[in-house]
Subunit: 121 residues, 2 copies
DNA sequence: CGGGTATATCGATGGATGTCAATCTTGATG
DNA sequence: CATCAAGATTGACATCCATCGATATACCCG
């Protein structure tokens, strides 16, 4: 076991106050919530997926079909479909299949909500 | 090859206007910038690392040492050190070694800058 | 109905990643 | 100096993940 820097043992330049380093459970992320949030950030933790989001956002009408996303990323169509699915599962993209084509668009406010997870606890 | 939904071939309910689905290179993330940003989000794409950030932020004095982070995460000390290194490399945490202990703190503004990457292109 | 096209899904594969046990490094203590 | 503690590093290992080729699924058109 260990007794941390708040202990008097081995006190060179210890915490100024006694309660220095105890997180004192204010609002620490519990494991479940952390898992949920990690899913969103993990979805954005891939360069190609970030570019997908960027292209969709920059597209006229706010939507783009897979055929328009495959070429600029220099990836195979199955790979692009795979990335899109991850972004949809993360709640960042919406999928709308019209006829043969599938149109992807940003979920309104999703990116802002993700950003809010960082600025506000 | 393919010719996309803007082509007249197979036009069932095609894009309303001709230039519908061309991203028309407004401000699409280039590969290099995407890679850089992905690094930050990948660092946040792990539940334990999100909890580390949360605990550090909630700690008195805005800093916490490894010994205070190992227990609440129920992870081995080497694993926690590993995660902390990733967060430092991503520019999210600062490391300050004082004596035997290493104190980690949020890099001021880092989370806000990361959030800004999402709201503003 | 048969051919063609856009997308999704499946299976495989190489590389990245999270975790631990063991060890190394460094600083404090007696 | 010898010892001990905190933390970093290393090596190993299992798992996950990005990617591709092949195939399946809709859907449209003639």
């Amino acid at each position: 076991m260990h007794n941390g820097p708040m202990s008097v043992v081995q006190s060179l330049e210890p915490p100024v106050v006694d309660v220095c380093c105890t997180p004192s459970g204010t609002d620490v992320l519990d494991a479940a919530e952390a898992q949920k949030r990690a899913l969103v950030f993990k979805a954005m933790g891939d360069p190609n997926r970030l570019r997908l989001l960027s292209i969709v956002r920059a597209s006229a009408g706010g939507e783009a079909c897979v055929c328009d996303l495959t070429e600029p990323l220099d990836l195979g169509q199955p790979t692009v479909s795979h990335h899109l699915k991850i972004l949809v599962d993360a709640g960042l993209l919406d999928r709308d299949k019209r006829g043969t084509w599938a149109y992807y668009s940003l979920v309104p406010g999703a990116l802002d909500r993700a950003a809010a997870l960082l600025t506000a606890p």
